[in-house]
Symmetry: C2
């Protein structure tokens, strides 16, 4: 048989067969005078064995091992390992599909894949065009994606988000966009912000390991000077609370 014929018999492509030759999985058969590979039925039997194993999901290296050690004992080992691997993949896929289902169910409006808990929180918050509020929401999605914040954080933030008084605080922060870093309104606003956040929020944020070096600086760099001052003061106050 020529390569196309054995390929048709066994049900694989000629490219695959040549690849098997290339990696030494199948021996190169004799050649006809014109250079064509001349396959025997025994080659087809061998190829079919290879094929069965690869279709089960074994890697070519594993197939080579199994065919080399004709022990048959090895095969059972490899198959069991493979089954364990497939089981792992299966649960992985199920988990992903579960999360996908959650997203698909809750997302026909949002253009962002976020956890349902955060989605609920954001939905509760009043609509606003405040830039600093938008920034806060972005930071929350970051927290959400890293998985650092659990359900408790969102639950604790719930009343805060629903409180219309918070909007006024955001607006006062917005007003500091062009103010100098020593604006007199800074300390007062910082104090009010600290007071507004309930203790539970702070308690719910996992404090395992310090915040990554450089993150705070980067966070402050996001804001105008006077706003950064406010944020810095608020953060300091929280760190104090953490120590207390």
């Amino acid at each position: 048989m020529r390569i196309g014929e054995i390929a048709a018999v066994v049900g694989v492509t000629t490219r695959a067969i040549r690849h098997y030759h290339h990696v030494g999985l199948l021996p190169e058969p004799d050649r006809r005078p014109n250079g064509y590979r001349a396959y025997t039925v025994r080659d087809a039997v061998l190829l079919a064995r290879v094929r069965r194993l690869t279709e089960l999901g074994l890697s070519l290296d594993e197939v080579r091992d199994v065919l080399a050690d004709d022990a048959g004992r090895d095969l059972a080992d490899v198959l069991e390992e493979l089954d364990a691997d497939l089981a792992r993949q299966e649960t992985e896929i199920k988990e992903r599909r579960r999360r996908l289902a959650v997203l698909l169910a809750a997302e026909p409006g949002e253009g962002e894949p976020i956890s349902p808990a955060l989605a609920e929180l954001l939905a509760k918050a009043p609509h606003t065009t405040s830039p600093t509020a938008a920034k806060d929401r972005e930071h929350l999605t970051l927290l959400d994606a890293t998985g650092a914040g659990g359900e408790e954080v969102y639950a604790a933030l719930g009343p805060l988000a629903a409180d219309p008084a918070v909007l006024a605080l955001y607006e006062r922060l917005d007003e500091l966009a062009d103010a100098p870093a020593d604006d007199p309104r800074i300390p007062g606003l910082a104090a009010e912000l600290v007071a507004a956040v309930p203790d539970e929020v702070f308690a719910a944020i996992p404090r395992d390991g310090a915040v990554v070096t450089g993150f705070k600086e980067a966070l402050l760099a996001e804001y105008a000077p006077a706003q950064a001052e406010v944020v810095r003061l608020v953060m300091e106050a929280f760190i104090e609370r953490g120590r207390g």
Copy 2:
């Protein structure tokens, strides 16, 4: 933040981030005077979005598309397609595991992954050292692997395998190993072989499409001249029966 810091915040490797830059999935941030990449919190937010999507199983190209079309409508499409794909993979894995389970249950002796139906058939056949019988078994595994033979073939072959008289036929075929192609024993043996195979076997073999060109020649080449003659006669007789 430096690259290692943003990587720690979001929970990815620096290599992945650089890769995202390389393929244009994330914009290259500004550089510090020393050449280090300087990331902002906004970069972290973006990276986190990318990360969420890739973790769901989207390809980097798909992520790029989703982030480009901020429509949010596109996202739902991609996610649904992804879910369909995952569902397909899941059933695929289940099917493989099912076959694996069958093999693992029935195989603690055989060194070959074959269908249980064929395994049962081979177990029924009496033990023999006949080379031509061994060849036949190999050819059956080939048939088994290609999926051409269904359960009916094996069922029809059952009585034949269990018949000890068949052993004598194999031995007579073996005896022709060194005989010339015009040995007088050939026609009689061929006729007896044809007579031995029940009609159901022949009927059960699916005859969709001719046998692959070149296969018969290769099959005949497996045998010594006189044996090949027998096989050829048997095949001819079957083809005749097929026409009738």
